[in-house]
């Protein structure tokens, strides 16, 4: 199991860092339920991987609230939003979400609200504001990079609270806590090494600690590899039980990563020598990855792409360990899918690969094998990168 999942915070106190921001949100929420509705909602702003979503769920858990999550990139139109939320005005409308159990209060959560581009938006943003202004449900919106002009109304209506990447010392607290829970001894050297490398990205830090705990060298030592034909890539992947090798293969063939995923999805469903428990676990993983690929394609999100690149090696590694073998055939319907995928993939290639390598003045090969996987460690500010990418797109 991924530690990022296993150690997802259950309570606010489990969320490390952003102490003041957390207090602000808690104060606002308490105020909201005691009648101070000056701000109908909170806008949490900050880069990915620093625990905004985890915090919202921990908060809801602590206050026994039921989270109704809307992903802003899924709900571009007002109709979609109202259909999912109901017309909040009526008392009965939100009961649907609480099921038949004892009724709990609702917390509306709009994740990635900056995924709504006001220009392409057909009422989604104003629906959110409309719901907010009715002040019948507390709302938290999360955004990576809200634009002061594009999201002006949102910024003026919601209480703006910044989430910052963690400091290295905060990262170390997080890692020490997990290490203690896992009962593993971790050297200060390793902790310092991770803490200095991750730029405050808690999720990445936890992934690196997990890798290190499997006896892996977390230093980024990627060996350049050839771009392989798809079948050969699958053959090599299914035969590998070495996470570094799997990662290298994926990184140097990252343009085929979604095809690899769907092939594995297929292999898992068809596998005869995998236990039922393992299948359930792997398919659960598949569903999550599938959702991420979907979002990545829709949003053309470089961050999701990078995130997927960190998850996929573990997915493949655990699938192989669970007895997945390649039987030498890719079902025909998959090929159709591959062709569809290729369309967006070419786009991804163009945007992320060509443009970025231009920005970084690197060859394609060096970019794919070395830079892409370590992009987080290069001294480019997220905002600048995002800005460059949005301009390019």
């Amino acid at each position: 199991m991924l530690w990022t999942e296993k150690y997802r915070p259950k309570k606010i106190e489990d969320v490390i860092g952003n102490e003041e921001a957390k207090q602000e949100v808690v104060k606002w929420l308490i105020g909201w339920f005691t009648g101070n509705k000056e701000y109908p909602g909170v806008l949490l702003a900050g880069p990915p991987g620093i625990g905004k979503t985890s915090f919202v769920y921990a908060l809801a858990n602590q206050f026994n609230l039921h989270v109704v999550e809307l992903n802003a990139s899924d709900v571009r139109t007002a109709q979609h939003i109202y259909a999912k939320v109901g017309s909040i005005g009526g008392a009965s409308t939100l009961d649907a979400f609480t099921g038949s159990g004892p009724r709990r209060n609702i917390l509306l959560f709009f994740d990635e609200v900056d995924g709504i581009d006001p220009k392409a938006d057909t009422g989604g943003l104003s629906a959110i504001l409309d719901i907010a202004n009715k002040k019948e449900v507390p709302i938290i919106a999360a955004a990576n990079f809200p634009d002061p002009v594009k999201h002006k109304d949102l910024l003026n209506t919601f209480k703006y609270i910044t989430f910052r990447p963690l400091t290295p010392r905060q990262i170390i607290i997080l890692l020490k806590r997990i290490a203690a829970n896992e009962g593993i001894a971790v050297s200060d050297e390793l902790l310092n090494n991770i803490a200095t490398k991750v730029n405050g990205d808690a999720r990445l830090a936890v992934n690196l600690l997990q890798e290190a705990s499997h006896g892996l060298d977390i230093d980024i030592t990627l060996t350049p590899m050839e771009n392989l034909p798809f079948e050969e890539l699958i053959r090599r992947l299914t035969n590998s039980y070495n996470i570094n090798e799997i990662r290298n293969l994926l990184n140097s063939n990252s343009n085929q990563i979604e095809d690899v995923f769907y092939t594995y999805y297929d292999l898992i469903t068809r596998s005869n020598n995998t236990s039922f428990e393992d299948k359930v676990r792997l398919l659960d993983y598949c569903i999550k990855l599938n959702e991420m690929f979907g979002r990545m394609n829709k949003k053309r999100s470089f961050y999701l792409f990078r995130y997927i690149l960190t998850l996929m090696p573990w997915f493949i590694y655990s699938a192989n360990r669970a007895g997945i073998v390649y039987d030498g055939r890719i079902p025909a319907y998959r090929f159709k899918l591959f062709i569809q995928n290729r369309k967006y993939r070419d786009h991804l290639n163009e945007v992320y690969t060509d443009r970025l390598k231009m920005i970084l003045h690197e060859s394609y090969r060096k970019f794919v094998t070395e830079t892409l996987p370590t992009i987080k460690f290069i001294d480019i500010k997220d905002e600048i990168l995002e800005d460059l990418l949005t301009k390019v797109i």
């Binding site: 808690v26 703006y160 290295p168 607290i173 020490k176 490398k197 500010k381």
Partner: protein, 121 residues
């Protein structure tokens, strides 16, 4: 020279006399202005840019970072992570507290206290 303490991510207002530099300040990347609330500085680069403007008018903004555990000042200059840290936080852990053996539990119980205080238990 006048000094003013600010916290990253926390809104503040500039003295009225500096109002005519408003446009320059809001156009800095990493600075936000929220009507009725004030300016928010997101990162060190933004702070440096603001200070370049304000220093000519006799004001320097200084970031405050408090230790979450003891409440004291955190001195980034004596931190081994000084170079790899973005420093744009309101809280971190001071050197003394960071060296405590039971650091993790102390930190977590601080958080528990904070929540209890807010909830009024």
């Amino acid at each position: 020279m006048q000094y003013m303490n600010i916290k990253y991510g926390t809104p503040f207002r500039i003295p009225r006399r500096l109002g005519d530099r408003f446009k320059d300040i809001v156009s800095i990347r990493g600075v936000k202005y929220i009507k009725g609330t004030g300016f928010i500085i997101e990162n060190k680069e933004a702070l440096d840019s603001i200070n370049k403007i304000l220093v000519k008018m006799g004001l320097i903004l200084k970031p405050l970072i408090n230790c979450y555990i003891c409440g004291g000042n955190v001195d980034c200059d004596e931190c081994t992570f000084n170079k790899s840290c973005h420093k744009a936080v309101t809280h971190c852990i001071c050197k003394t507290c960071f060296q405590q053996r039971d650091l993790v539990n102390i930190y977590i119980s601080k958080q528990t206290q904070m929540i209890r205080r807010l909830i009024g238990e």
